[in-house]
């Protein structure tokens, strides 16, 4: 049984040329990812090549499937809005022409952002500040809190520690934002790569082999 006919080799060569010449251009799919900062959700919608989706429709649904937010992406593909509810959120991008992508935000991520936003709400943090005060009272001078000395009344120590906490949180959030953005993007990237192209072709050849084998067994 002749397996490799010359014309198929030629075909393969032609298409390999095709592949190598054009592999740097990718076809389109759309993707969306989101990250949270300070009670605000930042979304970015883009085509596989990296171009932002302009004027794409963004819809956000809560756990029950109710629409809690609706908006459009700007000229860079971004859409920023305040957290519209508690619980898990599903963000849906509709870029038209049948292109659609989703991103899910878990309730825990949203909750963390709430705490960042409103330090007064964090009840569990007070015991910590109390222990700080007791430490500074004990040590006397060495006071990382700054101007407030150990002798100052507890009310003012509480506030200043919260101030510092707030400042630190803001600065850290600022540093982390590009990181969380990159992580979210990485998780969502479609992974269009030469390796996968060859994997796909390998699969096809494998299927061909199976077909040929079973057909030959029958005859």
């Amino acid at each position: 049984m002749k397996f490799i006919k010359r014309r198929y080799v030629v075909l393969l060569l032609i298409f390999s040329l095709y592949i190598f010449v054009t592999l740097q251009v990718f076809a389109h799919g759309v993707n969306i990812f989101a990250y949270i900062e300070d009670g605000t959700i930042y979304t970015e919608s883009y085509f596989s090549k990296g171009k932002g989706v302009i004027n794409g429709k963004i819809e956000v649904f809560d756990n029950a499937g109710m629409l809690v937010y609706e908006g459009y992406t700007d000229t860079k593909g971004g859409c920023i809005f305040n957290i519209p509810g508690t619980g898990d959120l599903t963000i849906v991008l509709d870029a038209g022409m049948g292109h659609r992508a989703t991103y899910k935000l878990k309730a825990e991520e949203l909750r963390d952002s709430y705490i960042q936003q409103d330090p007064g709400r964090s009840v569990d943090e007070e015991p910590v500040s109390e222990s700080y005060i007791s430490v500074s009272e004990k040590s006397g001078e060495e006071d990382k809190v700054g101007n407030e000395s150990a002798g100052a009344d507890r009310g003012r120590s509480d506030v200043s520690i919260e101030d510092i906490r707030k400042v630190v949180e803001e600065e850290v959030a600022k540093q982390i934002r590009p990181l969380s953005r990159n992580i979210a993007k990485l998780q969502k990237d479609t992974g269009l790569s030469a390796g996968k192209v060859f994997a796909g072709i390998g699969y096809i050849m494998g299927l061909m082999g199976l077909f040929l084998y079973f057909k030959s067994r029958r005859s």
Binding site: V25, H28, G98, G200
Partner: protein
């Protein structure tokens, strides 16, 4: 033109799946041993072709090669396109599993139609006829695919005329490129290996 999961309504998905299944069954029946490597080659070609994109304004469109697949494979274009689309979904997340049937019909039906119309002309010896048929086969295959695509989206609420006009306009360069590619490949095969056009199955006794 891959439609993603979650865009189309259930009746459309089911109809698409049924039509794709029917086409695939017929295509597999008509696929005898000699044809299998050819099918595999064209499946690979179709698989890779969608990775070639042409940026059009804000969005981008991609080549399909479904005209070529139809002319060279006939009914077996259905299993070929089905497999290629499935692999694209699994490896690149293009399209979706639930919408696989619809996408297969959107690409496969035009391929088959183009085969029925142009196959006889391409088998003839007239060079001009071959060039013209190849070109228009490519153009028509893409045009029909775009229209079917719009039709499917129409059932999910998109307004048909407006969408169809938009998609057709966006795909005009693709049609031209596909036509040209078809001309090159088909004339090449006519010179080098004309037997590739003889599709050995029961119906095509009109050789």
């Amino acid at each position: 033109m891959h439609i993603s999961d979650g865009v189309l309504s259930a009746p459309v998905l089911i109809a698409g799946a049924a039509a794709a299944a029917a086409g695939t069954v017929v295509g597999l029946k008509k696929m005898d041993t000699d044809k299998i490597p050819k099918v595999a080659m064209l499946t690979s070609a179709f698989f890779v072709a969608s990775l070639v994109h042409v940026p059009i304004g804000p969005a981008s469109v991609h080549l399909t090669l479904n005209g070529l697949v139809g002319i060279l494979l006939g009914w077996s274009c259905f299993p070929a396109i089905l497999v290629a689309l499935l692999l694209q979904t699994l490896l690149f997340q293009f399209g979706g599993i639930s919408v696989l049937g619809v996408n297969t019909v959107v690409m496969g039906a035009p391929a088959l139609i183009v085969y029925v119309i142009f196959n006889n002309f391409i088998k003839k010896d007239n060079n001009i006829l071959i060039v013209l048929s190849s070109f228009f086969a490519g153009v028509l295959a893409v045009l029909l695919a775009v229209l079917l695509n719009s039709y499917a989206l129409f059932f999910s609420g998109d307004e048909f005329i407006h969408l169809a006009r938009l998609l057709v306009a966006a795909h005009l360069p693709v049609m031209a490129i596909e036509g040209a590619v078809n001309v090159f490949i088909i004339t090449f095969f006519k010179k080098v290996k004309p037997e590739i056009f003889k599709i050995p199955h029961a119906i095509s006794q009109k050789t």
